[in-house]
C-alpha cells in the first residue's frame, strides 16, 4: 500500500512537472519544473529496485545537467517569436490527434507491454545494484564493448567542444 501511494505521488509529480515544463510561459520556470520530473523518475527507478540508477539520475541529471540548462538559459536572450497562435494551435491539434488515437487504441491490449501486476515492493527486498552494474560493464559477455566504446564518443565530444568554443584566430593563411 505504501509503495503504491509513493508511486502515485512521484509519478504524478513527474507528469505534472513535465506538463508545467511544456506549457509554462517562462523557460526558466520550465527548467525548474524539469527538476520535479527528474526527481519523480528517480523515484520510479528506486521503487523498481535500481538504487544505483536512481542516485545517478539525481547526481547527473538533477545536479549536473539541469544546472547546466539553467546557466544556458540565463545566458541566452529570450525569443518571443515562437509564441504565434497558429503554431500553438497546430501543435495542439497534432498532439490532440495523437492522444485521441492513443486513448481509443490503448484498451485493445496491443499497447500493453506487460500485464499490469500488483506493484512488488522491490525497494525493500532488493540488494544494492552498484556491484552487479559495475561488473556487467567490464564483462565480455555483457557490456564491455559498449562501455569502452562510449569513452571514444565522449573523447570526440570533448575535442569537438574545445574546437567549437575556441577563440577565433586571425584569418587563415589557407592557399585557396
Amino acid at each position: 500500500m505504501a509503495s503504491l501511494l509513493a508511486f502515485l505521488l512521484f509519478a504524478g509529480l513527474a507528469v505534472v512537472c513535465a506538463l508545467v515544463a511544456l506549457f509554462h510561459r517562462s523557460v526558466v520556470h520550465s527548467a525548474f519544473a524539469l527538476l520535479g520530473t527528474l526527481l519523480g523518475v528517480a523515484d520510479l527507478f528506486l521503487q523498481l529496485g535500481a538504487d544505483y540508477l536512481a542516485m545517478t539520475q539525481v547526481l547527473i541529471y538533477v545536479g549536473g545537467i539541469l544546472v547546466l540548462i539553467l546557466f544556458g538559459l540565463m545566458l541566452t536572450p529570450p525569443d518571443r517569436r515562437e509564441l504565434r497562435p497558429a503554431r500553438i494551435f497546430l501543435g495542439l491539434a497534432v498532439t490532440g490527434a495523437g492522444a485521441l488515437l492513443f486513448l481509443t487504441r490503448m484498451d485493445s491490449g496491443a499497447w500493453k507491454a506487460a500485464p499490469l501486476q500488483e506493484l512488488p515492493d522491490l525497494a525493500n527486498q532488493a540488494s544494492p545494484t552498484a556491484e552487479p552494474i559495475g561488473l556487467a560493464f567490464l564483462e565480455r559477455d555483457s557490456w564491455l564493448l559498449a562501455f569502452e566504446f562510449a569513452s571514444v564518443i565522449l573523447l570526440a565530444a570533448l575535442v569537438g567542444a574545445v574546437f567549437i568554443a575556441r577563440r577565433r584566430f586571425r584569418v587563415d593563411d589557407e592557399g585557396a
Binding site: 487504441r105 485493445s108 491490449g109 496491443a110 499497447w111 500493453k112 507491454a113 561488473l135 567490464l138 564483462e139 565480455r140 559477455d141 555483457s142 557490456w143 564491455l144 564493448l145 559498449a146 566504446f149 562510449a150 571514444v152 564518443i153 573523447l155 570526440a156 565530444a157 575535442v159 569537438g160 574545445v162 574546437f163 567549437i164 575556441r166 577565433r168 584566430f169 586571425r170 584569418v171 587563415d172 593563411d173 589557407e174 592557399g175 585557396a176
Partner: protein
Amino acid sequence: MPGPLTPSDWLLAAPLLWLAGGVVAILVLDAFRPAARHEAGLAFLALLGAAWSLWPLAEAAGEPLEGIPGLPVRAFSGMLEASPGNAVVGLLCLGAAALAGILSLRSLCRLESGRHRTALWTLLLVAPAGMLVTLASSHFATLFLGIETLSLPLYVLSALRRTEEGSVEAGLKYFLLGAFASGFLVFGMALLYAGTGRMDPGAVTAALEGGALARAGLGFLYAGLLFKLAIAPFHLWVADVYQGAPTPITALMAAGTKAAAALALLHWAPPAGPLGSGAWALLACATLALANLTALNQENLKRILALSGVAHAGLLLFALAALQAAPGSGASVEAAVNFYLVAYGVSALAAFGALELLERRAGGHAEASALRGLGRRFPVAGGILALAVLSLAGIPGTAGFLGKYFVFAELVRSGEVGVALLGILLTLWSFAYYLRILVVLYMKDAAPAGGPPAVQDTPAAVALWVPAVLVVLLGVWPAPAHLL
C-alpha cells in the same frame, strides 16, 4: 566469472583499438610537444593499422579464419557481427577517412594558422571507428553508439571553416537534425525493448508479430536510420550540409556515413513479413524521383552531387525490397549491397576529391558558373571528376554501372520486374543532371581565373588516382569485391 576475449573479439576490436590508440597518441603528443607536426603521420599510421587488422576478415571469403568458429564473425556475445563483405565496406570507410585527410593536408590543416590540426585529425580517426561499429552492429547498444560516434565528429568537421557562414550553418543544421534523428532512434529502441524484451536484430522479427507498441518502436527505429541514410522524407538536410561542409569532409560523409548506415539498415531490416516489399519499393521510387527532380535545377555542383547521393541511397532500398520479396536471397542481396556501396563510395570519393581540387582553382566556389571550362584547363582533375560522374550515372565499364546492375538483378530475380523497370527509368532520368556537369566542365568557355592562385597540392592529386583507378577496375573486373 567473466571469460577472456576470444579471437573473434580481438578480430573485430583490433581496428577500433588502432583508431582509438591513434586518437590518444595524437592528443598526448600534442599536450607535450605542441610544436611538432606529428598529427598527420600518426593518423595515417592508425588508419593503416586498422586496415591491416581488418584485412584478414576481408580476405576470408569462403574459408573460416584460423581460431574463429565461423563466418560471419560474431564478437562480444553478439554485440558485433561482420561478414567478409562488411569488412570490405569497412576498408572503404577507412580509405574515405584517409583520402579526406590527404585532401585536407594543404587546405583544412592550415585553417587559422594550423591551430586545429589536433581536432581535425582526432575527429578524422573517430568517425571511421563509429562507421566500423555501425556497420557491424547487431545490438541496440552498438547500433546507437556507432551512429553517435560517426555523427559527432562529422557535426564538428562540417563546421571546420568557422569563419565561413555556410560551413557553420551546415554544422549546426546537421547537429540539430541529427540530434532529433538520434532521439527517434533511441525512442524506437526503448519501445522495441519494452514491447519485445530483446535488443538484438531478433527484436525486429518479434516486433512484427507483436503489438502496436513494438511496431511503433520499429517505425521510430527506421526513421532514425533512414535519416542517416538520407531517404526521401528525411533527405532535406543533405544538400545544405554537403554544400556547406568543407569538400574533403563531404567526401567522407558521402562514402563512409552512407555505407555504414546502409549496412546497419540491412542488418536491422525485417525479414519478409507484413511490411512487404511494396513499402521499400515505394520509398525507393519516391526518393529517386524527388532527388532527380531537385537536382535538375541546382547551380552548385556540390548540391548536385549531394542529391545524386540521395538518389543512390534510394536505389539501395530496392535491394531491401528484393529481400522482402524473396526471403531466401539474403546472402546474394547482401553481396549486391556490399558491392554497390563500394562502387558508389569510390565514385563519390573520386567525384568530391576532384571537385575539391577544381574548387580551389575557382577561388573556393562550386557553382557551375565558376567551374565552367575548368575540365579542359585542368585535364587530370577534370578527367577524374568526369569519370566519377559517368560512374555515378551508371555508364557501362565503370563500377557504378555494375553496382546498379547487381541491385536490379536481385530485384528481377525476386520477381519484381515492374518495380525494376520503374527504377531503371528513374535512373535514366538522372542522366540529365550528370550530363550537365560534363557540359559545364568541357563545353563552356572558361571563366576568367578569379582569386589568388591555388597552392600546388601533389599529395591530393596523387591520392585521387586511387579511387579513380578503382572506379575503372571494379567496373571491368568486379570479382575481388563481389566474391563474397
